[in-house]
């Protein structure tokens, strides 16, 4: 499992990961904000998320293959 967050919420995400005992959870962090942005900015956010997501998928696949 990975969690997607914006930069503004990253400290909260890390606090909850620590409090709930799952600090190994992977975070995909993109620029804040997500609301009230233009289509171009939204595509920029996607551009940030996709490489991180792919890297997470690849890492997860390697882990599962041992």
């Amino acid at each position: 499992v990975a969690m997607l967050t914006t930069t503004a919420f990253e400290p909260l995400a890390r606090m909850q990961m620590h409090a709930l005992g799952d600090e190994s959870l992977d975070l995909i962090v993109i620029a804040h904000p997500l609301g009230g942005i233009t289509q171009a900015m939204l595509e920029q956010r996607c551009g940030e998320a996709v490489p991180q997501g792919l890297a997470w998928f690849e890492g997860e696949a390697r882990r599962r293959q041992g």
């Binding site: 503004a8 919420f9 400290p11 909260l12 606090m15 909850q16 409090a19 709930l20 609301g35």
Partner: protein, 345 residues
């Protein structure tokens, strides 16, 4: 969160340590000495846990709650009220994790019902939500200290509210039953008037509604409804619990009652009169992100249809409170939290 910390017996040193470690709300705290905490516990099991407070998930044992009640300045008999309030906030429908961490300025309003309100001296009269009465100020503050010290809802960390708000310091009241024409609120939740209870509701700060002119309940109720219709509140978009509180000044409540209105009549009227055209709501701040039930999305297919500011009349929580004057208040909710009423054991 639950670690014991030894501090030298010096008031100023404790305040400096609290500031360094971000304990509390920024105001001076009463030193939670073992004697004071024991008096607050009054024989209750200090290790009994009420639950874990998000987003930091510190364990709210009775000892921890008692320590925070002491720090807030509460009188010893406040602990059962605080325990009931925390238990209520931990009910799933209250969505405390959301209330704590959101960018919205929501704070839990604590309403104290039944005999315990008078026993503790909780104010339901003039200036009910303002300063000047210890029971309101300290009970509300104790709730906030628990949310900050046990739940770690500190500004910019566990509490991401864009502006925060004065209601996050202390937000506690009771109804003015000496002047109310209607049964006390907790009876609407199936409790007896003789029961002591608390209600927690996630709300913004109150918005005043003055009406010095109306001589009929209907004319006044229209003005209340108008104040509920503004497009900026969360409820237009989010419907996972969409409470609105209406704080009726006793003079306004008596005018309604004299015209034959019950609390339920007012709820139904406001439900209908707070509607807006879908075409107008489309201009609200989170139209594309709205979470509406299927019947509202069906209404949304025609911009001329009307949709309500709340999803059910019962979500309009009506209280009679405050002192003399032609003022009432409407208080928008968070949108993602539903009120919980709990008997005090």
């Amino acid at each position: 969160v639950n670690a014991r910390v030894q501090v030298v017996a010096d008031f100023e040193a404790l305040q400096r340590l609290a500031a360094e470690r971000r304990w509390g709300d920024g105001l001076p705290i009463i030193p939670p000495t073992e004697e004071r905490v024991a008096a607050m516990l009054d024989g209750a099991d200090p290790d009994r846990s009420v639950g874990a407070i998000p987003p930091g998930y510190g364990e709210a044992t009775l000892e921890v709650l008692a320590a925070n009640a002491v720090m807030a300045g509460c009188q010893p008999k406040a602990l059962p009220v605080l325990v009931a309030a925390v238990e209520a906030m931990l009910e799933p429908q209250f969505n405390l994790a959301g209330v704590q961490a959101t960018t919205h300025p929501v704070a839990p309003l604590l309403v104290v019902h039944g005999p315990v309100a008078a026993e503790m001296g909780v104010n339901g009269g003039s200036g009910v939500l303002g300063p000047g009465v210890a029971a309101n100020a300290t009970l509300g503050r104790a709730v906030r200290l628990v949310l900050m010290n046990v739940g770690l809802a500190r500004p910019g960390e566990g509490d991401l509210s864009t502006h925060g708000g004065p209601a996050k310091f202390s937000y506690c009241m009771t109804e003015n039953m000496a002047e109310s024409p209607w049964p006390e609120y907790h009876t609407t939740a199936g409790l007896e008037p003789s029961d002591s209870a608390v209600t927690v509701i996630g709300l913004e700060a109150p918005h005043n509604v003055q009406d010095h002119q109306s001589t009929t309940g209907a004319r006044f109720a229209n003005i209340l409804a108008d104040a509920m219709r503004e497009l900026g509140h969360n409820g237009w978009a989010i419907s996972r619990g969409n409470d609105f509180a209406v704080l009726l000044g006793p003079e306004h409540a008596q005018m309604l009652a004299a015209d034959g209105w019950s609390r339920e009549d007012l709820q139904r009227f406001l439900y209908h009169r707070s509607c807006r055209r879908v075409g107008e709501v489309m201009e609200a701040g989170n139209w594309t992100g709205r979470e509406w039930p299927v019947w509202m999305n069906a209404l949304a297919e025609n911009p001329e249809n009307l949709v309500p500011a709340v999803r059910r009349p019962e979500e309009i929580r009506v209280f009679v409170t405050g002192g003399p004057g032609k003022h009432s208040a409407v208080v928008p909710g968070f949108g993602g939290s539903a009120a919980v009423t709990r008997r005090i054991s």
